[in-house]
């Protein structure tokens, strides 16, 4: 006999709880969907008792987890599923009485494809009893051999073996601590052990990972979750441990830890062969470690590689976190063709300036450490944009040669009439 537990809650957490409940009765369970699980109960009779007691026990443990739903017990898996999905509470269907219980179910409750459903609907077949009453051979002649099985379902006699779910998540390790732990060092010891085991498992299957998920169950009943993503596939447990250490130092848990869970997302391992003429770069593992150290020192938002933005805003760029990869040539818009390029040194932040104008053209510039008469000026070069945001800009740039011998770029934000020296040409 089989018991089906159907708990139409839908949430991922409840789904996991449902699996836990089912697994507490049998190591072999079939996960039909997130809300529906089937388990064999013949072996439980010896330990718990007849089916109604088994059902009560399942219901009790489910209630402990705050799971509400239905339980169907029948001699076939599909009948148990139908009962659990369509009848509320606990339903135990004795052998031979299947039609009595499920005959009035709507035909839609059968696992049928849209085309078959459409045909049955046109035939006026509304319930399983209607369907089961049709002559088998003629139904098979019209709907194909699969229809025989469907009819058996509709009569509650279709049998099939259980399709057991895989035994646990293979790349997940959990460790329940005997005592609460508040310090990082002992945790690292445990984490190291778990990571070694997981990485060995990956290695034995020629796999690696690009994502590590860490969960600490805390004494205050909350959880501390961290996810680390690696820019390359790895199974180096030492490196992972070091990265975890850095991450935990930057983001310590908000309380004492009572359980540790680590899971890795398996991916194909990296096959790398450097080209003969490719300049040697730091090993990615080392680079990632270094970056992680820098991040913990400088803050995550301040580490990465600069990326030019697709905008007319002069000098606009953003920090791209992740691997330090040189931007592809196409991603740097090149506004001018060949010719000589002049280097430009940005002042960060730009120097506030006072500028004297003559007929709209800068004549004299006063800024911190920069001042002089304008010998030559080119401009204004006017840009404006992002008018659809709160960060719109409208500025004029001037390239000026000053009497101090330098060539500078002056910028005036037109709406504020505020002048800056943005930088100097080399």
């Amino acid at each position: 006999m089989y018991a089906c537990i159907h708990a139409p809650d839908g949430s991922e957490q409840k789904g996991a709880d449902l699996i836990d409940v089912a697994k507490s009765f049998s190591p072999l369970i079939e996960i039909v969907d997130r809300n529906t699980i089937v388990l064999p109960i013949d072996a439980l009779r010896r330990y718990i008792g007849p089916p109604h007691q088994i059902a009560s026990e399942i219901a009790r443990r489910a209630a402990e987890r705050k799971i509400t739903g239905n339980i169907g017990i029948a001699h076939t898996i599909e009948t148990a599923i139908l009962a659990a999905r369509n009848l509320s509470g606990v339903t135990i269907i004795p052998k031979g009485a299947e039609s009595k219980y499920i005959g009035e179910f709507r035909i839609e409750t059968l696992p049928i494809d849209a085309e078959t459903y459409s045909v049955l609907d046109r035939w006026g077949i509304r319930t399983l009893a209607d369907f089961s009453a049709l002559p088998d051979d003629e139904v098979a002649e019209r709907l194909g051999p699969a229809a025989i099985r469907l009819q058996q379902y509709s009569r509650g006699i279709a049998d099939r073996p259980l399709k057991p779910a895989p035994l646990g998540a293979e790349y997940e390790e959990r460790f329940e601590l005997e005592h609460e732990v508040s310090l990082i060092e002992p945790l690292l010891f445990i984490l190291g052990r778990l990571l070694n085991a997981l990485c060995d498992r990956l290695r034995s299957r020629s796999l690696a990972t690009t994502e590590l998920h860490l969960r600490f169950d805390l004494a205050n009943r909350s959880a501390h979750d961290r996810t680390l993503q690696f820019p390359f596939a790895t199974r180096d447990s030492k490196m992972m441990l070091k990265l975890l250490q850095l991450d935990l130092e930057a983001h310590p848990p908000a309380g004492a830890v009572v359980a540790v869970m680590v899971s890795l997302t398996p991916v194909k391992s990296r096959v790398l062969q450097n080209g003969l003429y490719t300049p040697l770069a730091p090993e990615p593992e080392k680079l990632e470690l270094t970056l992680a150290k820098i991040r913990s020192l400088a803050g995550e938002e301040n580490v990465g590689s600069p990326q030019l933005l697709n905008t007319h805003r002069p000098g606009a760029w953003k920090m791209r976190s992740g691997a330090m990869v040189a931007p592809a040539a196409a991603s740097v818009p090149c506004s001018r063709g060949g010719g000589q390029r002049i280097g430009f040194r940005y002042f960060s932040p730009p120097a506030r300036a006072r500028v004297e104008l003559d007929n709209g053209v800068p004549r004299r510039v006063f800024a911190k450490r920069i001042s002089g008469d304008v010998i030559q000026a080119a401009g204004p070069w006017r840009t404006s944009g992002d008018w659809w945001t709160n960060e719109s800009w409208d500025r004029d740039d001037w390239d000026v040669a000053l009497s101090d011998g330098g060539i500078y770029r002056l910028v005036v934000e037109r709406r504020m009439d505020a002048w800056f020296v943005e930088g100097a040409y080399d």
Binding site: R122, W123, E138, E141, L143, G337, A378, W381, G385, W388
Partner: protein, 1039 residues
């Protein structure tokens, strides 16, 4: 420093998403700040040229023309028109490149540029121009030499633009170097893309639409600043202070551009008259011959009228045009295609004699001057109604064959941003999520009436948008700014311009999306403004219905019907009209027409002319309907708005109903000339310009002031004229339509089966769904038979015993090719059973077979078997499954299916699902007993109710209407098995029950019965959905 500057490189919104201002805006800003001239240079077209020219003419500007031509090398060549030859060459160049490429992909070859270069001046262009490209590729010398070779020395200008950009300035320096080496004159332009600086945001949005990107993604595709707006001489002189000759040269070049559209060179189209005949003599001959046939006897009054018209036609050199239209009509006659002239052409006895129109204007005393008048300077506009669909396409293709690909073209239809399209595109560009976008679009009303006091802001606020939010505020601003901007060029439904072999000298032509069609780049208003004569070939579903009806009557009834000689004043026809029993009849079947017919009680043909004209938004808005009906029924004295208007209005009891009357009123009351009156009519029919309407109204009032007509009388006259100028019918047009209305009424009354079959075969058309048409026909005693594969044809047919058999065309999902194969196989020998049919019609797929079985079309296929639909479905499933060769010829089992036959309700539901209609009982009839118990009146019972009584009615909603003229009132038509009930819903009740009223397929309504003069309706007080299992006839919703 020069003090004059002419902008010679300006794009308008007619560059389609590459310019943000209408030509009129550009002309206006130039008039306000410019120097008397400007050149419109749109991308690959001259679509905006007429509007730019007309706006400029009004503002006393010189409108230079040109275009940026996209060439195969990827560059855009700005070309300016110097003279008429240049204009013709530009038109031909655009035509040539467009006609040999798929729509939107046209590029000119160097050969084409060379071939059509005379009279054109080439600028070296901006960053998209040939010189900028040459700088990039290093082929500067070759580029300049090629341009000089094509356009000649003195006709190539080195163009400089300054938008405060480093790159551009670097290029300018290079351009000046090249210009110095090749002695090219420098020319400053601003590469204008919008009239005012503030329109840059709109241009950015259009750029996003064009590139299918959101504004956040568009990046460098957007403009770098707002400097591409119109700049005056002072600004440009300051920008080019170091190169004053570049500014001075704009004035010099402007003086070289001699061409404007005033110099178009269009003459009325010629007709290839037979040898030895002039067009005039040939027209006279054909008219005389036609008149002898039409007028029997050819009386003196008609002869005089025709002579008068011919003299004017000759004087105005219009014989060719009349002969072209006559030729079309003759083609239709030869090919058996029904054709009838509509519109003001029906005022012409020559048109009547030539067979172009069917109304005798002499007999009806119609005003010829409405059609053609020397003083008005207005050219005739002949509209021909043709059966919609393939027949009309045959006529269009005939004209292309007759006058050549470049001698005939459909007029364009400029698709502009309005309402939802504007909301959608602006929202998308601003990066709104799909859900928000759907909500934003839904705020824009698309169905009928809008609250006049409601602003867009109020509408968006009501829909729950925080309009203070900067993003929503920006959306609103841009949504309003984009209104009326051109989106793309479509083709007008029927307008054709003909100019044998030389139309591409007048305006550029381009291919339409529909294969085999060519479109001129101007819309019909533009064509009219520039004096181009067009023929409108309009598809009219009713003509196809009449044509098909006549054929069925000939085949089945054995009678020949001549529409020109139908019995006049047939009492049965007028009886049906007076009872508003008019479903399916042309122009008189709508709810509004039905509510008027019992009050107007048409007794003769002219009443029908009035009936057709009176239920129009014009007379309704102008409050003309009730006074007319009251006067007609003797409840009010006929009186005119002013004694001077008596001669004009006495025929319609003092109430203006026709366009001719409004023209006359303007002429008499405000002293308008004929031309001014026509200008007035067009201003109010001219959907594009509020300003133009206001202008004409001011003139009208000024005219009346001068004549001493003031105060309330003036207001009444203005309201009468302005309210229905847009929608009012010309009397002749109403008469033409009334002829068709009479013909349809006559055929429906006397040949119901044939008329209904033809009506069903020409759907969609008219006011009602096929389900309603069938129910109505059944109520009139017609036997309607279901689809049956042993008897049905592709189309609906009439059987020997005058029943109507539904055609296979009504089976949803059944392909025409399958039906043809089925009919072919059946013609060879009848099908023995379903298996036999499936074997012999291998094209039929599973779904088609199941649909046929479900609607009962296979019930009679096996005579030996008393079958029902489920039995057929059972057999069909067995037949579909392939069997091996051994069993292929085996007979199917004779036993009936083990399935329960469908109930009546199930059959009705299957009918609606499979054919969209039922020939069985109306879904409401299935609930009648229960409805009677709850006191619900049927439509038939409602007609017998007394005015003011409380009534409960129920039915399937077949039509919802919220006319813009009805101040928010909603009109519903509920159908049951006995007929149709009308319901009036007040704006408050509608707002309170919006969802139910808009979406419930069946409704239960309670309210006060209004039964006046035979017009029955319920003024709803309570509304509730009625739950029925059956699918409903889908409602047709109108504004």
């Amino acid at each position: 420093m020069t003090d004059r500057y002419v902008e010679l490189h300006a794009r308008s919104a007619f560059s389609f998403l590459e310019g943000a201002s209408l030509p009129e805006e550009l002309a206006a800003v130039c008039a306000a700040r410019g120097d008397g001239a400007m050149a419109l240079v749109d991308v690959d077209n001259l679509c905006g040229a007429p509007r730019f020219y007309l706006a400029a003419k009004k503002l006393k500007l010189t409108a230079h023309l040109g275009a940026e031509i996209t060439a195969e090398d990827g560059c855009r060549y700005p070309l300016l028109v110097a003279n008429r030859k240049g204009y013709q060459n530009l038109c031909r160049l655009i035509t040539s490149m467009k006609l040999r490429a798929p729509k939107g992909k046209a590029k000119a070859s160097m050969e084409e540029l060379r071939q059509y270069s005379e009279g054109l001046i080439c600028l070296t262009g901006d960053e998209e121009g040939p010189l900028a490209r040459a700088f990039r590729t290093g082929a500067t010398k070759e580029c300049i030499e090629r341009l000089l070779d094509i356009y000649g020395k003195g006709n190539v200008y080195a163009e400089l633009q300054r938008h405060y950009s480093r790159d551009e300035e670097a290029r300018n320096q290079a351009v000046m170097d090249v210009a110095a080496s090749f002695h090219l004159p420098l020319l400053a332009t601003n590469g204008v893309r919008h009239a005012y600086a503030g329109e840059r945001e709109l241009l950015d949005v259009l750029t996003c639409v064009r590139n299918k990107k959101t504004i956040a993604e568009a990046g460098r595709l957007l403009t770098s600043n707002a400097e591409r707006h119109f700049k005056d001489a002072r600004e440009m002189a300051r920008l080019f202070a170091d190169i004053p000759q570049a500014i001075a040269n704009t004035v010099e070049l402007s003086s070289r551009l001699q061409f404007t559209l005033a110099d178009l060179g269009y003459r009325f189209p010629p007709y290839p008259a037979p040898p030895g005949e002039t067009m005039n003599s040939y027209l006279r001959k054909q008219t005389e011959a036609g008149a002898q046939r039409r007028y029997q006897p050819y009386h003196e009054k008609a002869r005089q009228q025709i002579e008068r018209e011919l003299a004017l036609i000759e004087k105005l050199d219009l014989a060719g045009y009349f002969l072209i239209v006559w030729d079309v009509v003759e083609f239709c006659r030869r090919e058996g295609i029904l054709v009838q002239g509509r519109g003001s052409a029906a005022n012409s006895a020559v048109c009547y004699a030539l067979g172009i129109t069917a109304v005798d204007p002499v007999n009806m005393d119609l005003l010829f001057e409405r059609f053609l008048s020397e003083q008005r300077g207005e050219w005739p506009d002949i509209d021909l109604d043709l059966p919609s669909g393939a027949q009309r396409e045959r006529v269009i293709q005939y004209l292309y064959r007759r006058y050549g690909e470049r001698g005939a073209a459909m007029t364009a239809n400029v698709i502009t941003y309005r309402g939802r399209s504007a909301a959608r595109d602006v929202g998308k560009a601003l990066g709104f999520e799909a859900d928000d976008l759907a909500r934003l679009s839904s705020v824009v009303p698309h169905w009928g009436w809008r609250d006049p006091s409601g602003t867009a802001e109020a509408a968006f606020r009501d829909a729950g948008f925080a309009i203070e939010h900067p993003r929503i505020a920006k959306f609103l601003e841009l949504f309003q700014a984009i209104q009326d901007l051109p989106r793309h060029l479509g083709q007008h439904s029927g307008g054709m311009v003909i100019f044998q072999g030389r139309l591409d000298e007048i305006a550029p032509l381009e291919p339409a999306t529909m294969p085999g069609r060519v479109v001129i780049q101007w819309d019909k208003e533009d064509c009219a403004d520039l004096g181009l004569i067009k023929v409108d070939l309009l598809g009219l579903g009713m003509l196809a219905v009449l044509e098909d009806s006549i054929q069925i009557i000939r085949d089945v009834y054995g009678e020949d019907i001549d529409l020109a000689h139908l019995p006049q004043d047939d009492p049965d026809v007028y009886d049906a009209l007076q009872r508003a029993d008019t479903i399916g009849m042309f122009q008189v079947e709508s709810r509004a027409q039905m509510s008027c017919l019992p009050r107007l009680k048409p007794k003769r043909f002219y009443d029908l002319v009035v009936q057709v004209a009176i239920i129009r938004p014009g007379p309704i808005v102008g409050n003309m309907v009730h006074p007319y009906l009251k006067r007609r029924n003797g409840l009010e004295e006929p009186r005119c708005l002013h004694p001077w208007l008596e001669p004009v209005l006495s025929r319609t009891l003092g109430v203006p109903l026709f366009q001719e009357q409004l023209l006359r009123m303007a002429m008499i009351a405000a002293g308008f000339s004929g031309g001014e009156a026509e200008e007035l009519r067009r201003a109010f029919g001219f959907k594009r310009s509020e300003a133009r309407m206001r202008e004409v109204e001011v003139k009208l009032r000024r005219g009346m002031d001068a004549k001493g007509i003031t105060g309330a009388t003036q207001d009444a006259i203005v309201q009468a004229i302005t309210s229905f100028a847009l929608y009012g019918f010309p009397e002749s047009h109403a008469a033409s339509f009334a002829l068709l209305a009479y013909a349809s009424a006559y055929l429906k009354t006397h040949y119901l089966a044939a008329f209904t079959a033809a009506l069903l075969n020409n759907q969609p058309m008219g006011f009602y769904r096929p389900a309603t048409i069938v129910q109505d026909a059944q109520r009139h005693g017609l036997r309607v038979l279901p689809v049956d594969v042993t008897k049905s044809e592709w189309k609906c047919i009439v059987t020997k015993d005058l029943a109507l058999r539904l055609g296979l065309n009504y089976v949803r999902g059944l392909r025409k090719s399958t039906a043809d194969a089925l009919l072919l196989a059946r013609a060879q020998r009848p099908f023995a059973n379903i298996q036999d049919m499936v074997r012999r019609v291998p094209q039929m797929n599973k779904e088609e077979l199941r649909n046929l079985a479900e609607i009962g079309a296979l019930n009679f296929i096996d005579e030996a078997r008393s079958s029902h639909r489920r039995d057929a479905l059972w057999q069909s499933e067995a037949a579909i499954r392939p069997v091996g060769p051994l069993l292929e010829s085996a007979q199917p089992g004779a036993a009936l299916a083990p399935l329960v036959p469908m109930t009546v309700e199930e059959r009705v539901a299957a009918d609606f699902r499979g054919t969209g209609l039922t020939v069985g009982r109306h879904p409401m009839a299935l609930r009648r007993r229960e409805l009677i118990r709850s006191g619900v009146l049927s439509a038939a019972e409602l007609k017998r109710g007394r005015d003011g009584q409380w009534a409960r009615i129920a039915g399937c909603v077949i039509c919802r209407q919220r006319p813009s003229t009805a101040k928010g009132f909603v009109f519903l038509s509920l159908e049951d098995e006995t007929g149709i009930s009308n319901v009036i819903v007040t704006p408050d009740l509608f707002d309170a029950n919006k969802l139910t009223l808009v979406s419930a397929p069946y409704l239960l309504i309670e309210g006060v019965l209004q039964n006046q003069q035979g017009v029955v309706s319920v003024r709803a007080c309570r509304v509730a959905p009625l739950i029925l299992k059956q699918p409903a006839i889908p409602s047709k919703d109108f504004s």
